[in-house]
Amino acid sequence: MSAEADDAVAARAAVERLRRFGGERLLRDMGAIFLDALPEGLATARRALAEGDAAGVGQVAHSLKSSAGQMGAVVVERLCQAMEAASRTGDLPALAALLGEAEREGAAYARWLGGELERPPGGGPAPDGAG
């Protein structure tokens, strides 16, 4: 199985796990929070980066990491983890590259999750690019 397919499976599993924890309502509420928090967090990180504040980027990355992991946005989770590590060494060029990637992957995941939330429970397969 490709890494992309693995990521899609992980995203699907996370969504099903949330349904198990608290039904459709929990999934929708958490999805809505994450769809707000993700772009907001990434924008905060972008501002911190512009100010050369590596620790600020790291703080945002730490917070987004667990939310992304809970929602099955595994690529975003990995990128946040890498940003957290880069923030500890103050590696601003690495943070810039990782943040750009997180913004792209976050947007792709948000599109997937948005579709997932509109779909009735037990609907069709996850589209490609879930990550």
Binding site: F21, I33, S67
Partner: protein
């Protein structure tokens, strides 16, 4: 223990709304769940009415989870309160590090296995407090 429900009370101290929502959904059938968004807010509430167990985020803004634990351990009335570290610091050695720092349990984020969360809290509530 909450007199009305007979269920133990868990204080969830967590600044992320999604994590509070998730934990409440998992725990609400077994615990009375009280939610706090900061360590300062939680400490103020515990002084008047301590819970049976605390699920404490580490990376809180302002006073972090480790500082909240230190405040609790320094307070004669609250020092035996069981406190579980709830954290996305989940690399090798983190669990041992938090237990060595005085936490009574450790639950990593994201929550994949709700049984681990339930078991950790139940163990803390059942443990005699000395």
């Amino acid at each position: 223990m909450t007199a009305m429900t007979g269920m133990p009370t868990v204080a969830v101290v967590e600044d992320n709304a999604d994590n509070r929502l998730l934990v409440a959904a998992i725990l609400e059938e077994r615990y009375t769940v009280r939610e706090y968004v900061s360590g300062a807010e939680a400490l103020a509430a515990f002084a008047a009415d301590p819970p049976d167990v605390v699920l404490l985020d580490i990376s809180l803004p302002g006073m972090d989870g480790t500082a909240v634990l230190a405040h609790l351990r320094a307070d004669a009335r609250l020092r035996t309160l069981p406190v579980v570290a709830f954290t996305a610091y989940a690399r090798d050695g983190d669990r041992a590090r938090y237990l060595a720092a005085g936490f009574d349990g450790y639950v990593a984020k994201p929550i994949v296995d709700e049984a681990h969360l339930l078991r950790t809290l139940a163990d803390c509530v059942a443990r005699p407090r000395g």
